[in-house]
């Protein structure tokens, strides 16, 4: 016989972590964009040499990679929330979620390839 223990099913407690991650990644992205905007406004790059010069510094490459990693994490939390709200059939929702994860991982590899090639 199954005996009810009176406990409430609360899930895996990833809600708070995701909520926090979405906000931290958002703040990080705003800081990166603000710094990039200031750099580009102070010294507007006109040609290819100037643009690739900006992204030649390894700190800029790392910061840009972190920006994209933050963007993909942020996008994952957001898209997952949207899918949970509107896609009710579990099989379809899980399929879409897996596709989103795969897409974001491919984007991450693509980002590294763009920055370090």
């Amino acid at each position: 016989m199954v005996k009810h223990s009176g406990r409430i099913v609360t899930g895996a407690h990833y809600g708070l972590r995701d909520w926090l991650a979405q906000r931290i990644t958002a703040v990080f992205m705003v800081v990166y964009i603000a710094v990039l905007a200031v750099l580009v406004t102070i010294n507007p790059p006109q040609d290819y040499a100037a643009w690739s010069g900006i992204f030649k510094h390894s700190w800029m490459r790392i910061a840009t990679f972190l920006f994209f990693a933050a963007l993909f994490w942020h996008a994952w939390v957001g898209v997952r929330n949207v899918l949970m709200d509107y896609v009710k059939p579990v099989a379809i929702r899980l399929t879409l979620q897996v596709l989103v994860i795969i897409a974001l991982l491919v984007y991450l590899v693509w980002t590294a390839e763009i920055l370090w090639s």
Partner: protein
């Protein structure tokens, strides 16, 4: 409110629920989303969601494709400059700038709300107006700069 008949109050509740039913019947039922006028914070909120989805797709692949053209070689850079002369693409770019700026401004508003700034109704309505008052003119300014 649902009234459940029971005990000595059954008759009274029955009368009240009948009155309620009559009242409810006379009220307009606009459950059609296109007939309900949403308050501005609700509109800003759904725009935040829609812009977020569009920034995810096709926004992210567009952005990476653009970054690749920008940095790959002088030839790809020239190709990107040529492609950006196309008015249709400029218009598309302006729309994505709008999605980004709306998502950014509405997102900053949510961060403030999370920190319990501006949670009163009047302030929340005012800040949702500010989201539009900042993001839309900035988008138009970007459009002017692009042309």
């Amino acid at each position: 409110m649902e009234f459940r008949a029971g005990g000595q109050l059954r008759n009274y509740h029955f009368k009240v629920s009948r009155m309620e039913a009559k009242l409810k019947h006379q009220r307009p039922r606009h459950l059609d989303l296109f007939k309900i006028t949403q308050p501005l914070p609700a509109i800003v909120s759904i725009m935040h969601r829609i812009s977020g989805v569009l920034l995810f797709f096709p926004g992210i692949p567009f952005l990476l494709y653009g970054l690749n053209m920008l940095l790959e070689s002088p030839e790809s850079f020239a190709a990107m400059q040529a492609v950006l002369q196309h008015p249709g693409l400029k218009l598309l770019l302006v729309f994505f700038v709008w999605f980004f700026l709306h998502h950014l401004c509405a997102g900053i508003r949510y961060l403030a709300l999370d920190l319990h700034y501006g949670v009163e109704l009047a302030q929340a309505r005012a800040s949702s107006k500010w989201v539009l008052a900042i993001s839309i003119p900035l988008t138009l300014l970007t459009g002017v700069a692009l042309w």
